[in-house]
Symmetry: C2
Subunit: 505 residues, 2 copies
């Protein structure tokens, strides 16, 4: 029943298979690499169950793989674990027209869920830059956040049901009908999932963000809100973070329930976007240039403290929404809260604005070696922390000319702090350690979290062990042992080494 | 350090204390009664920790008590457990003006949190009928739902941080600063909680809805949305459930993001509200009469299939909202979807509309003996199930003249099915068993859930054991044993007997 998958033959063999296998052993950034000899591509839940039971019984490590868009190496083998790729499980079972609950397999690409729900008058409530490649199972397993978190809620709020396969092959239907008993999906049967289900410990939440360490998510049911029909976007230029806070407060009053995104970018970031992300003379590059030079009389050194916001609204009535946006902007201009503002005149310009925001990550990667952090901090300390990090970096690793770039979902307190060392393209572990110590130290000094939305994987598990309360770490290890007593699921990741249990010892 | 609390002295003693103790041994409906000899009222987390550690070490059962508004006897002792009342822990620590996150003790009464957040420009995202009495810790521990669930999300989405005391006295700070180490709350220090925190298994979700079986929730941090400044409400009369579905679809399009509640009531329910809930000639009674007799030419027997909806909007601009509501009603009239509609002209009328809705429960209780169910069902089957239950009741317990009353949060698929036997005021266990079998059977036939928002307590734990997947029950028992190895927390409830472990065996 198990498909043969891709097997690595260490003697020279099929070149294509070797190169395909390499793809499954490397993460997209090229930073993490494993040596798995086998990729399995199950077609349904029953096959996942058989695979896991076999691995459980024989103490074989398993790494579950989605769209390979993670940032912490969570879906890349550490050593020779089997790779379980869910790409072949990509059915969408339906969207209940009354409840708005969409049910699908884990391997469906996020963008396909956007299209499917939009066609039916609903909005899929998760949106992230990697939507064209990432899979919903990976999104759930990493508890992906993104720009709609503020308006439409996180996955703990929107995921209503899960189907999960445990390491020993048992299948749990958590607030979701079992329609897959015999291994053939009965696509004609409705899969029921409820918005409210208070029948015991809500186990599905343990799997949201568990990064494949206690089981494999095979089906997902997510509640979608009614599709907004009107969208507006504006790019704002502020002189100080104090003004950014005022924009946020004004948005709460003037935009109220239609505010759908508030994306922050600092000057360092947009300078790199200009240098590495946008060429030519289109709308996007022109807009970017105008923003960066909002006050032509200023020196560049004065402008370097300028901060930028992309504010988006989504609502159900274009006239009402336009008037709310006008009031919002008028209020900001009148109160001197913004230096400049650009209102998108059509959907093309809106797309260009989002293209600027989504170019932040690829642009810094092109600029040099990047030390990436994804932290939660108190909103009022958002830029203070970045400045403090900058100051300490200049004092300790000035020789690599570090540039501190900050962008992120400011109304969630979620800052993507990226330290760029221009012209260098290899990470240096001594520098990395210094930078990580400084960033985490500043974040924790302000009671922040060292992982807001990117997760743990193989990147932050040891830091977690050092920095998180031991009582919590002990319970995490007990949860891991409860679900995965042989320690076969994503071994060596998520938990620090001292809390990992050996396979079948 | 532990306050003496109220101790029951079996020899005649202080009459006031005895009567106070009785209050803690009985639930508000009078249905459940225990015989606890001791109520403890800790003042802070350190005291809760000391109490639990002592009980853990000495195998003493503990029932945590909030505002005594539960419907399943979850906070009433079964036998002689100690009652831990959190009423003395009622500090509100603050509401972060930027993130909207409010932090407070578990014993704060829900209505006080409404007032506190409203004064600061935020809406507390949970509202239930018992708000004047219930406590937020109880709300979290029962995963309370209520009318704002649809718009503002459930507690798994809005609760950002928890402080929890485990049975052995360990205190967990789950996405929440520890400010209480020495037993004196440092009220001057900000308590930080983040919207996004991806640092391991999200343990707080196991405690949401755990009904005090694995620990005691002592502090809560909840994210509040910006306070809507405009509110509208309308009462609609429909001839069929098919029309109710059309109203829901129209609301999605015309009201969009400002739809805040969609409350359903059937004719049987409103007849009992009229008979037992509303007297006199005020706005409420007049409105109720007009609704019930929307078509004076009809016979009462024809009217009995009429269905009623309370639709509420909340937004940030009164002119925009009024125009959306007008379009909504015009569309419903033009398409013949409603027989009649009443639009509240002022806040007084809006209050009267909600008073009708909130009278459903007390009115049926006054009408006779009530067998209460709180189920989730597919939205399209909402009334089908009620009719099927009605048919089967007439066939099996016709002699008690059962009246099937249905109301609830229809856009969540949450139906409060109440079987009323007029004139009888004592439950009969044979009848109860018959009714429960019929209701649960119909609900499960339609893939429903036997508890939508009221929880399990001592009412549904055995049914849970019969009806829920055994794989899930086994894991629930393992979770219970992991956190509460001596089985001291709310013993005998939540899990069916066969999954309970004896204290300190």
């Amino acid at each position: 029943m198990i498909r043969p998958g891709v097997r690595y033959d260490p003697t020279p063999g099929d070149e294509d298979e070797c190169s395909e296998l390499l793809g499954y052993n490397e993460d997209w950034t090229g930073r993490y690499r494993g040596s798995s000899p086998l990729v399995l591509k199950p077609a349904n839940t029953a096959e996942v169950s058989s695979i896991l039971r076999y691995c459980h019984d024989n103490c074989i490590g398993v790494v579950t793989r989605g769209g390979n868009t993670g940032l912490c190496g969570g879906a890349t083998p550490l050593r020779d674990e089997i790779v379980l790729s869910l790409e072949g499980m990509n059915n969408i079972y339906g969207l209940d027209e009354h409840s708005g609950i969409l049910t699908c397999d884990s391997g469906v690409i996020l963008e396909n869920l956007h299209a499917y729900s939009n066609e039916r008058g609903y909005l899929f409530p998760l949106d992230i830059g990697a939507k064209g490649t990432c899979q919903i199972g990976g999104n759930v397993s990493t508890n992906a956040g993104g720009q709609y978190f503020f308006r439409f809620g996180g996955l703990h709020g929107t995921v209503m049901g899960l189907e999960v396969v445990l390491p020993d092959g048992r299948v749990l239907h958590l607030n979701m009908d079992n329609v897959d008993d015999d291994g053939t999906v009965q696509r004609t049967k409705r899969i029921s999932t409820h918005r409210k289900d208070n029948t015991g410990y809500d186990l599905k939440h343990i799997f949201i963000g568990a990064e494949g360490t206690i089981g494999v998510v095979t089906k997902v049911a997510i509640a979608c809100p009614a599709l907004p029909t009107s969208k507006n976007a504006t790019l704002l230029v502020c002189d100080s973070y104090c003004d950014v806070l005022k924009v946020m407060a004004t948005a709460k009053v003037e935009l109220g329930e239609i505010l759908s995104a508030m994306e922050f970018m600092d000057h360092n970031t947009l300078k790199l976007v200009q240098a590495h992300g946008f060429g030519g003379n289109g709308d996007g590059p022109r807009l970017l240039r105008d923003m960066l030079q909002s006050d032509p009389s200023k020196q560049e050194s004065d402008r370097s403290r300028q901060l930028y916001l992309l504010v988006e609204t989504q609502g159900s009535n274009s006239a009402d929404d336009a008037s709310k946006m006008d009031n919002f902007l008028a209020h900001l201009y009148d109160s001197g809260t913004i230096r400049n503002g650009f209102l998108a005149q059509d959907s093309r310009q809106m797309t260009e604005m989002w293209r600027i925001r989504e170019s932040c990550n690829p642009s810094v990667l092109r600029a040099g070696c990047v030390y990436k952090f994804d932290v939660s901090v108190p909103i009022e300390d958002y830029m203070t922390i970045a400045r403090e990090v900058e100051g300490r970096l200049f004092a300790s690793v000035k020789h690599v000319d570090p540039i501190v770039c900050v962008w992120g979902h400011v109304n969630d307190g979620n800052a993507h702090i990226n330290i760029v060392t221009p012209g260098r393209f290899e990470t240096e572990s001594a520098i990395e350690e210094t930078i990580e110590t400084i960033v985490f130290d500043e974040v924790l000094k302000h009671s922040g979290s060292i992982s807001a939305e990117h997760g743990i994987g193989q990147k932050k598990n040891e830091a977690l062990g050092r920095l998180k309360d031991e009582n919590i770490m002990v319970i995490m290890a007990q949860i891991k042992a409860l679900f995965d007593p042989h320690g076969i699921m994503n071994p060596g990741k998520y938990l620090p080494n001292k809390y990992q249990h050996n396979m079948c010892k």
